[in-house]
């Protein structure tokens, strides 16, 4: 049992899968010699050599296109996009090519690939290096969407993503890189599509993802102090989506609050709210409240960015508002 940072867990997860399967390779900008600009791939070049761990030019379309072509031809490649904002520079390859090819070819093409990318705000980098874009990937049929909230899940979900026969977009949260967590020794493999109930509760269901999970947990703590028992669910993956756990919880609590880092419109919480409003309306004892970043680009200044991204205080307020 070791204490690992979320950052180190990324390298651990990749290493676990590269040791297990020769077909797993890693490419990206500065991932080899430099060990990644977020130090998430440190030691992998040394461990697996330059054929399996390779630096690329600044060419996101070439990186993601190479992943697709290699996956079509027998590899199980992992590619890093330094910041998730750069998904926009290769969105055609990701959303139009990778996601649709199996369906459009009548199932002829298998694409076991993983796109890893540093996602989210709180780092004062400004509007083009801080976005939470899980919902972009969620809009695209054919993409699996994973976003771990802690070091152990990074290892287990990354392993599951690499072993998955379908393309996975794996969002690593920049704000969590330095967070430490207990990670047992030996192989760790989770299953995609299983949410985790972090805290049991009876009065309200709080659903969160990635860096919003600790925010939701802190809110639940505070609420407990005020006599409100909140159930906190870490979705862990948006596609596949664990609607069972979600609907069971709402059936019990009768109240739902989503905590989303994405700007409001068409965020993942909107989808979840619409599922509950369609399938569990009569379970609800209160309106469904979405706590999100306002529908604005993220500002650079610390004071402004902290106002924009959901905080425990805002979650508590939202919950108390529907008590």
């Amino acid at each position: 049992m070791a204490e690992l940072t979320y950052r180190a867990a990324v390298a651990r997860g990749i290493s676990q899968e590269m040791e297990r399967d020769d077909r797993v390779v890693l490419i990206g900008e500065d991932v080899a010699a430099a060990g990644g600009v977020f130090k998430t791939t440190e030691g992998l070049l040394e461990q697996f050599g330059p054929v399996r761990v390779r630096d690329t030019p600044i060419s996101e379309e070439a990186i993601t296109g190479a992943l697709m072509g290699a996956a079509m031809n027998g590899l199980r490649p992992i590619g890093e996009l330094m910041f998730s904002d750069f998904l926009a520079t290769c969105w055609d390859i990701v959303a139009n090519q990778i996601a649709k090819t199996r369906y459009m070819t009548g199932g002829q093409v298998e694409l076991p690939l993983v796109i890893r990318t540093a996602n989210g705000g709180g780092t004062r980098f400004g509007g083009q290096h801080s976005q939470s874009l899980e919902n972009w990937a969620m809009t695209v049929p054919g993409l699996k969407v994973v976003a771990p909230s802690n070091a152990r899940d990074v290892v287990g979900l990354l392993a599951a993503a690499v072993r998955d026969p379908d393309p996975v977009v794996f969002f690593e949260h920049k704000k969590l890189f330095a967070e430490k967590g207990e990670v047992e020794d030996g192989e760790i493999v989770e299953r995609l599509g299983e949410a985790r109930i972090l805290r049991k509760g009876d009065d309200v269901t709080i659903v969160a993802l990635a860096a919003m999970v600790p925010v939701a947990s802190r809110a639940a703590e505070a609420l407990a102090g005020q006599g409100t028992s909140a159930e906190v669910i870490d979705l862990r993956s948006l596609v596949p989506l664990d609607t069972k756990t979600l609907l069971q919880s709402v059936a019990k609590t009768g109240r739902l609050v989503t905590v989303e880092e994405n700007p409001r419109l068409c965020g993942w919480g909107a989808e979840i709210s619409s599922i509950v409003a369609e399938e569990a309306l009569w379970d609800l004892d209160a309106p469904i409240v979405r706590v999100t970043t306002p529908h604005i680009p993220l500002p650079a200044a610390a004071e402004l960015e902290d106002l924009a991204i959901p905080s425990p205080e805002r979650v508590v307020e939202a919950v108390l508002g529907i008590q």
Partner: protein, 331 residues
Amino acid sequence: MMNELAIDRSTLLELYRAMVRARYFEERAYDLFMEGLVKGTTHLGLGQEAVAAGFALAMDEADMTFCTYRGHNHTLLRGASMTGLLGELAGKANGICGAKGGSMHLTDIANRAMGSYAIVGAHLPIAAGAAWASQVRSDGQVSVCFFGDGTTNIGAFHEALNLAAVWDLPVVFVCENNLYMEYTAISDVIAVEHPAADRASAYGLEPLIVDGNDVVAVYEMASDVIERARRGDGPSLVEAKTYRHKGHSRADPGKYRPDDEVAEWLKRDPISSFRSRLEADGIDISHLTSIENEARSEIDEATSAVREADPPDPETLMTDVWADGSSTWRN
């Protein structure tokens, strides 16, 4: 003059057969589009058959082809069945992609036809990636990627060529320069003469130009660059000068092209000119006519098979988004 060629007669005849099969297939596809059996769209390579034939015959079975929406010829000549292809165009259950892809997405993985891509440029990095996998395994497999002149101006072209060159990938990029994009001439949108060849040096590659209507010249160029890639000597960028006999797609009459230009190129039809060369070379015409007859009956059989075929099973709407065959996104 054929005897100058280091190409045996059987190969010459196979080159002829390939072009004739492609020609008959697409002429039929056009007729069936006009008839309404083929829906949506079609982009015909009529007039460009020499490029597809010359490369297809120069490739090994394990080599991979990546092409565009104008990819009927390329997919057919890697071994896909006329019935499967025509069925796909007609949206029938016997379509090679189960009628889910349509004319612009013909794919036959079993024959290493790795897909027809409908968004300009996207398949260049994908072909590079397939070649990268071959390089990792060093299995001697080569990827060949076909695209048009207009594709040389999109970002993905630049990124793919550079990556392939830097990584020395076993991939051959083939620009079929038919002088036009959709309804606009390539010369209006580039500052160089040759859209592909004049870009080669930006990637440390040789400028390679071939007469895309001369199937023998194409075959020889193809054999050379594919062999180079197989040897591990890296990628090539070939520009094949050719012309499409019909419009860009569907019923486009191609009125934006000067009549004399069209007439000039029709005279240079790759099939009839090659036929005359074969005759001049003393090949017994009966060989040629039997090739033509075989191709004719092949397309006729495919046509009736497709006419009789059922539409796709409605169940298939929800299949094959994922590897487990389903489209389920929730539990």
